[in-house]
Every structure is written in structure tokens, then in C-alpha cells.
């Protein structure tokens, strides 16, 4: 397995708060990797650190052979790595139509054939042309999340960082989005790094996952291990019980 994303000894501080404490991870090419853990454990921060949106104080990140330092990211980096955010209500610019939002990455990177690309991207996420000129407030959460995915895909990245892409959605819509993600991954041979607090979702989509607590990775294991309860860490076990629902 060749690693496409390598993270070693990563530390992130917010002022004095140690949000990521010595995180080391490696994600293989075309692998789907999950991150679970309680709220505030640093899952989102990890993704944002990779994307250059969090203040990394030390540690190394290697992405597709390119060593990255600090917060600066090359232009090429953004064509390799894209991200989908948790809140579909907050990740789309409220004053721009879908068309504008999809056009923007193309304009930034000076990509020419905008028209067919936009149409293709919308098609791919299952939105018809009737959505093209809508504003975010004219769409449902699931539809917005599809637009966010389309926006991430339009630059044809290799790695997609997914930060709880379905947690704001209804169960039924969640299924649709999960299916969509699976499909685009297959079609494009993408590498996924996905955050979720729902073990069901993670095991559904990912082959391997890491469990995080208090800014550390406490355990890395495969989905199969989890399904058959082959876990070492207490916290992982605790999470598993909790996700089975309420019991008196």
C-alpha cells in the first residue's frame, strides 16, 4: 500500500489549547479512511490542518509525495485535495447561485471549458440543470451537500476530506449522500478521509479507521475488526456500546 497522505507527529494549538497532540496517520492510495471520536476530540481540526486551515505548530504532512510545511499550500495542492464540510447550510456562499459556486474553482485555476464541466459535475451528483441557478436557500440540506460535493469534485482531486458530510442530514437523505459518495469514489478512484461520529456510517464507507480522544489517536483499526468487536481500547468499546442505542 503506497501512502498518499502521511501525517506524522502533528501538533496543533489554539492559543494555549492543545487541539492535536502528536497525531501520526498514514492513508493509502484509493483507500477510504475514517476518523471517529467524541465531540471536540480534534477530528475536524485534523482535516483542517491537512487542508491548511488550522495553525500547525509542528509535525510533517506529506501529500501525494509533496512535503507540506506550515500553512502555505501550493496551487497544485488544491487540485489534489478538496474538502466537504459538515454543515451544508454554512459551506455554501449564501449570496451565490450554484452556478457561481461551481464556476469559482474553475476561474481560480483558469480552467477553460467551464460550461460542460459544470453540467457534468451537477449531473454526477444527481442534480438536474434546474438546480443550476438556484441560491442555497432554495435547496434542501441534502441538495446543498450534493452541491458541496460537486464543487469539491469539479477540480478532479485525488483526495477528498469529508468532515461529517451527513451528520446534519435526515437518515433518508444521509443514505442518498452516502451512496453518492461511494459512487464518486469508485468512478474517480478517490482517496477518502472521512470524519463521523456515527460508527455505522464510518464502517459503511471506510475500510480503516482511527479513533480519537482528547486530540490523540487512541487506536487505528479496520472496519472488519470493529464489526467483530476486535478492539483494544476501552474508549472504542465505549463508543461501540453507545452507538447501539438506548438500553434500560
Amino acid at each position: 500500500m503506497t501512502a498518499v497522505l502521511d501525517i506524522s507527529h502533528l501538533h496543533v494549538f489554539f492559543d494555549v489549547y492543545h487541539a492535536l497532540d502528536d497525531v501520526t496517520l498514514s492513508v493509502g492510495r484509493s483507500e477510504s479512511f475514517g476518523l471517529v471520536g467524541e465531540s471536540g476530540s480534534g477530528k475536524s481540526t485534523l482535516l483542517r490542518a491537512v487542508a491548511g486551515l488550522a495553525p500547525v505548530s509542528s509535525g510533517d504532512i506529506t501529500c501525494d509525495g509533496e512535503a507540506i510545511t506550515g500553512a502555505h499550500r501550493s496551487r497544485a495542492f488544491f487540485r489534489k485535495v478538496q474538502m466537504v464540510f459538515q454543515d451544508p447550510y454554512g459551506s455554501l456562499h449564501p449570496r451565490q447561485t450554484v452556478d457561481r459556486q461551481l464556476l469559482e474553482p474553475l476561474a481560480v485555476h483558469g480552467i477553460g471549458d467551464a460550461e460542460p464541466r459544470i453540467r457534468r459535475a451537477l449531473d454526477e451528483v444527481g442534480l438536474g440543470p434546474s438546480f443550476r441557478f438556484r441560491y442555497p436557500h432554495q435547496m434542501s440540506g441534502g441538495q446543498r451537500q450534493r452541491v458541496a460535493i460537486a464543487r469539491a469534485l469539479i477540480l478532479e482531486p485525488k483526495i477528498l476530506l469529508l468532515d461529517e458530510p451527513t451528520s446534519a442530514l435526515d437518515a433518508s437523505v444521509q443514505a442518498e449522500v452516502l451512496n453518492l459518495l461511494e459512487q464518486v469514489r469508485r468512478d474517480h478512484g478517490l482517496t477518502f478521509v472521512m470524519v463521523s461520529h456515527d460508527l455505522g456510517v464510518v464502517t459503511h464507507l471506510c475500510e480503516r479507521l482511527a479513533v480519537m480522544q482528547h486530540g490523540r489517536v487512541v487506536e487505528t483499526l479496520t472496519a472488519a475488526d470493529l464489526a467483530s468487536s476486535r478492539v483494544r481500547d476501552d474508549y472504542t468499546r465505549h463508543l461501540m456500546t453507545a452507538s447501539r442505542g438506548f438500553s434500560r
Partner: protein, 310 residues
């Protein structure tokens, strides 16, 4: 395009209100129409709009509408005539000039002051605020220091000083007011930028590799725009009043230009016996700035989805 929607089976209203627009134009018009619907539901706001439109029309057709020459008076025969004397509907001033005609021509000055100040101060404030807010760090510190200095400086003193330095005249008054009125816009834009800066959609644009310049210009600024527009409209009244205040202190317009504030200033000498000389321009200022305020208030409700949602 016109044929497009005349042959279409849907009504124009439905076309505008459609939640599945088929073109950029339709989407944009639809949004504007929604705003208009919200706006027009507010009667006071419509009244404000009416007042402003009337002002603009009066300014455009001043030459046609004004019954007399606004600057040439009849000192000997027509001085300080009360309203309704002869054909002087609103009376005459101390140079024997028709007050109505002066008010009509003065609307041009008022409009120019308001328009130009808005055009100078608002973009300046917007630029400073968004850049400071987005860049953070020392850029923010420096820009905000400058803003604070201008904020802490007594506004009218600054304006007075500028007019005194540059010489009187409406252009300089405009510059002076513009120079004193941008800091609040910068503050506001910065606050708004700070709110927007950490949002996911800005993060998404950064992840596209867009330059900070592009982010500020195309993504942050539009977010500040609607509150800026509202604020500017509401400030228009303040601008008119400041200009009038400068005129009142003898520093705004040059005689004989019919600037309303200066008209009040020269009319106040006669307030005891010839009340109309100072009262008429006062009413004009009140009406116009009321118009802008009503308009701004209505725009705020129409543009701010938080308020309009209820």
C-alpha cells in the same frame, strides 16, 4: 429574452418567483423581486422611496420646474415677501429670490452631496474594513488604529478643518464629509468580515486556491454589501444634515448656490419676522432625510433575512 417570457405559459410573477430559475438573469431578478416584494409590503418604506424618487425627478427637471431664477433676485422690489405673494409660492429671501426655485435647484446639490459622499466613503470604508478583518495581524492593527484615530477625532472639527484648508465650496464639503464618514463603515465591514472569515464557505474558497485578494473582493465584500447599503442609506440623512450643518456654519456652499443648510443659516436672521425664509429649507431637509431614513429602514427589513423571516 422578452419574447421568452411573453410566450411562456407562466405569469411574469411566477417566472420571477420560480424556485428553479433557468438562467443567471432569472435567478438574479428573482432575488431582486423577492426583496422588492418584502420591501413593498412596508408602506412607510414605499413612502420613503417615493420621496427620494421625487427628489431625483425634481433635481433632473429643476430647470423646467423652477418658476424663477434661483440666483437672480429682485433686491429692491421683492425682498422678504411672505409665501403666496404674487407668484412667489414659498416667499422670497433677503436678496429677493424665489425660495421655491432655490429649493428646487438646491435638490441637485443635496443629491450630489449625498451621492458623492456615498460613492467615496462607502467603498473606502468597505475596503479598509474587509482587508483589515480578513488579513488580521498587523495589517488589521494598523488599519484599525487609523480608523480609531479618525473615529476619535471630533467629526465636525475634522470636516471644518478640511473645508477651511481646502477652501469653501460644495466639492470640498463633500470631500470633508466623506473623509469623516468612512470609519464607521470600516468598523462595520470589519466586524462582518470577522464573522464571515471563519465560515466554511470561505474555507471552501480558500481550498480552491483563490488568492486573498480574490476572496476579499468576490466573496467577503458581497456579504458586507447589504448591511453597508442599508447603513449608507440611513446615513444619507446624516450626510445631508452634516452638509447643512457646514452650510449653517458658513463653510459648505458658496453663495449664491441654493444649498439648503446655507439657506437656513441665512434665513435664521429673519426667523422672528420672516419665518418662512428659514423654515422652508428646513422642511425640505426634513422631508428628504426622512425619505432616506424610511428607505433605509425598509431596505434593512427587506435585505436582512433574519428580520424578514418573521
Amino acid at each position: 429574452m422578452t419574447t421568452g417570457f411573453e410566450t411562456a405559459p407562466v405569469s411574469r410573477r411566477d417566472w420571477l418567483l420560480s424556485d428553479r430559475p433557468t438562467s443567471r438573469m432569472q435567478a438574479r431578478l428573482g432575488r431582486a423581486y423577492m426583496i422588492w416584494l418584502r420591501f413593498s409590503a412596508n408602506r412607510l418604506a414605499l413612502a420613503g422611496l417615493g420621496l427620494i424618487l421625487a427628489l431625483i425627478l425634481v433635481a433632473i427637471f429643476a430647470d423646467v420646474l423652477a418658476p424663477f431664477d434661483p440666483v437672480q433676485g429682485d433686491l429692491r422690489n421683492a425682498r422678504l415677501l411672505p409665501p403666496g405673494t404674487g407668484s412667489y409660492l414659498l416667499g422670497t429671501d433677503d436678496q429677493g429670490r424665489d425660495i421655491l426655485s432655490r429649493l428646487i435647484h438646491g435638490s441637485r446639490l443635496t443629491l450630489a452631496v449625498v451621492g458623492l459622499v456615498a460613492v467615496i466613503a462607502a467603498p473606502l470604508g468597505l475596503l479598509v474594513g474587509t482587508v483589515a478583518g480578513y488579513a488580521g495581524g498587523w495589517v488589521d492593527a494598523v488599519l484599525m488604529r487609523i480608523t480609531d484615530i479618525f473615529l476619535a477625532f471630533p467629526k465636525l472639527v475634522l470636516a471644518l478643518a478640511f473645508v477651511a484648508a481646502l477652501g469653501p465650496g460644495i466639492e470640498n464639503a463633500i470631500l470633508a464629509i466623506a473623509i469623516t464618514s468612512w470609519p464607521p463603515y470600516a468598523r462595520m465591514a470589519r466586524a462582518e468580515t470577522l464573522g464571515v472569515r471563519h465560515s466554511d464557505y470561505i474555507a471552501a474558497v480558500r481550498l480552491m486556491g483563490a488568492s486573498p485578494f480574490r476572496i476579499v473582493l468576490r466573496h467577503v465584500m458581497p456579504m458586507c454589501l447589504s448591511s453597508l447599503i442599508v447603513r449608507v442609506t440611513l446615513d444619507m440623512a446624516g450626510i445631508i444634515l452634516t452638509a447643512a450643518g457646514l452650510g449653517f456654519l458658513g463653510l459648505g456652499a458658496q453663495p449664491p448656490s441654493p444649498e439648503w443648510g446655507a439657506m437656513i443659516a441665512s434665513g435664521r436672521r429673519f426667523i422672528l419676522d420672516q419665518w418662512w425664509v428659514a423654515t422652508m429649507p428646513g422642511i425640505a431637509i426634513l422631508l428628504v432625510s426622512l425619505g432616506f431614513n424610511l428607505l433605509g429602514d425598509g431596505l434593512r427589513d427587506a435585505l436582512d433575512p433574519r428580520e424578514a423571516g418573521r
